[in-house]
Amino acid sequence: MAILESIGLSFSVRGSTLVRDASLALEEGAMTIVVGPNGAGKSTLLKLLTGELAPSQGAVRMDGATLPQIPAWELACRRAVMVQNQRLAFPFSVYEVARLGLEGVGRAQSRARKGEIIAQALETAGVVGLAGRQYQTLSGGEQQRVQFARALCQLEAGRSVAQRQILFLDEPIASLDLCHQLSLLDAARSIAAQGAAVLVVLHDLNLAVTYADRLVVMHEGAIVAQGEPSAILDDNLLRGVFRVSLSFSRLPPAGQPFLLPQQHLTPVQPGGVVPLRAVSG
């Protein structure tokens, strides 16, 4: 059953439409990955789904209730968000940044329980060794992992209030090395395996194909394809959306799609029309 549903979601600002008529459902236990070129509206869609932006049209429903009706605190128990912004105003330690995940939803937890939650999250994100360090002295990738730990803290603390949870990750592996890319995505997948819905915005198509239960392809604000990766991905779609020619093959034994970009085509200017048929699977 879907934990979150969006119906005909559109968002326009100053005459330009950033997201148009986006309908999707985040299912319990499923990892949904959103891909698309720059400016396709992926982050805007994520902001609409998390309630940060109010849609111009359409609605986001969580277990039946539309988003603005859910109080901020309750919403925070139901979903955690890791956004792209990693800045922090003052010199908090890594431990304190992770603890910020508990400032809203962790009020009811005992100090010992909070300590457990933080330790577990730092462990999962692979930043225990950095706990005493000042956040601002970390590399971009390390900061990203600390932010992931913070989101994990929030999710764990919220679980005592809400069982059906969602984890939103906006380009969580943008500055990570290969090892940490996989370990973060593995952690996200195991969260999905525990019953949460996970939505990740990614750029790496191969990782997206590997990890996604459902793939959502966005182009110029619209969802042009969504479904099981191997069912919806084909040469035409990728050419049209990403403007690259790809060597598209399937890896044995399961026939998992594998993409090797070869040459970029002329990028389409914003507003330029690329004929695309909507795919669903």
Partner: protein, 371 residues
């Protein structure tokens, strides 16, 4: 093959607990040290001045007042000075210092900017303009005999009103569709401050000699006019600020990540911002009204606290209050001692300490990200 030795979750949890414990101990130590310093300065302050009284004697008088000593001690001239002149002045200084320092810490948290200060966003200037208006135009605007005789009685209300109006204006200008833009607020604050400053200048231009002198002394800040009556007007405004601090600490901590992130964390961002702004307006209005314009407390104190125990608002806010009280009480001692038997306006002393400190902060700007 594992390259790094991996700690077991239990071991890492234990290590983290040690880390957290260490921070907590540091916090407790800082609280104890600051409270001690503050009390010491207070004791010294009651004895210091043109009419010097030994700290031991001050302690005796205080004990007597509390009922633990000979009651006839209370009739002495020293007791009169300590209890009726210096005590209200001390408490007013402590309250104003605490209010200004907390306001600074709140604004820095709100603006996510280590350099924010009530002076920076025009709150003090707005309060100052209203106060100047009362001094210069008071007897022209309010033609009643009451006001003509008592422009200084109107002054606190004027300053308070001015602080509130400028803060509200700032908030309204910077808020669109329920969201407050910090950048717009800073820019609007600078503009409003400049406007208030120019109008205050205009008032100084049209004022007569007596008014100009009043204006000058008041704009330099002074605790000289302290009395139990004045204190009873300021305390109900500043004390609630101290009690509201625990309500704001978590929210401000979350705000350090950004407004959207704080919202994601379940913090009622708009409510936190509105409450912080209201408290700052109240505290700054009350302190400007009772002690004139005293600069730099709001910027120096929170910085020192952050440098020593870190930026967690749960400790930063209460410690700023204690530190601000200590700083202003200390500055008042200096103000009373350097030109005995006269006294310096306290704003001169705090600016004399604060401005070089501020410059030092700017000079080590390479490391300002750590502040």
């Amino acid at each position: 093959m594992t390259l790094a030795v991996k700690q077991t979750p239990n071991a890492s949890a234990a290590a983290l607990a040690v880390l957290a414990e260490g921070r907590r101990r540091k916090g407790v130590l800082a609280v104890a040290a600051l409270v001690g310093l503050c009390l010491l300065l207070m004791l010294l302050s009651l004895g210091a001045g043109a009419f010097a009284i030994a700290p031991g004697r001050v302690a005796d008088i205080l004990m007597a007042k509390l009922g633990f000593g000979p009651a006839d001690l209370l009739d002495s001239r020293e007791a009169l000075v300590v209890l009726n002149i210096r005590m209200p002045r001390l408490l007013l200084g402590a309250l104003v210092g605490a209010g200004l320092a907390i306001s600074g810490a709140l604004m820095q948290g709100l603006f996510r900017n280590p350099l924010a200060d009530p002076g920076l966003v025009g709150v003090s200037a707005g309060a100052g303009l209203a106060a100047a208006t009362t001094i210069v135009l008071g007897d022209r605007l309010f033609l009643s005999t009451f006001a003509m005789k008592l422009p200084f009685a109107l002054l606190p209300f004027g300053a308070f009103f001015g602080g509130l109006v400028s803060t509200l204006a700032l908030y309204l200008i910077a808020t669109r569709q329920g969201r407050t833009s910090v950048a717009t607020m800073l820019l609007a604050g600078v503009a409003l401050g400049a406007l208030a400053g120019s109008l205050t200048g205009l008032l100084a231009f049209i004022s007569d000699d007596r008014q100009l002198r009043d204006l000058t002394f008041w704009s330099l800040g002074s605790l000289g006019g302290a009395s139990w009556t004045k204190l009873s007007a300021v305390a109900p405004i500043v004390l609630p600020l101290l009690f509201a601090v625990p309500l704001l600490a978590r929210g401000l901590n979350a705000l350090m990540l950004g407004e959207a992130e704080a919202y994601h964390l379940g913090i009622p961002v708009q409510r936190i911002k509105a409450l912080a702004i209201l408290l700052v307006a109240l505290a700054v209005g009350a302190s400007v009204a009772s002690a004139g314009v005293i600069g730099f407390v709001g910027i120096v104190v929170p910085h020192l606290i952050r440098l020593s125990i870190g930026p967690d608002h749960r400790l930063l806010l209460p410690l700023s209050a204690i530190g601000g009280a200590a700083l202003l009480v200390g500055a008042d001692i200096i103000a009373r001692l350097v030109v005995v038997p006269a006294e310096l306006p306290i704003g001169i002393v705090t600016a004399f300490i604060g401005a070089p400190f501020f410059l030092w902060l700017l000079l080590r700007r390479g490391r300002i990200a750590e502040l």
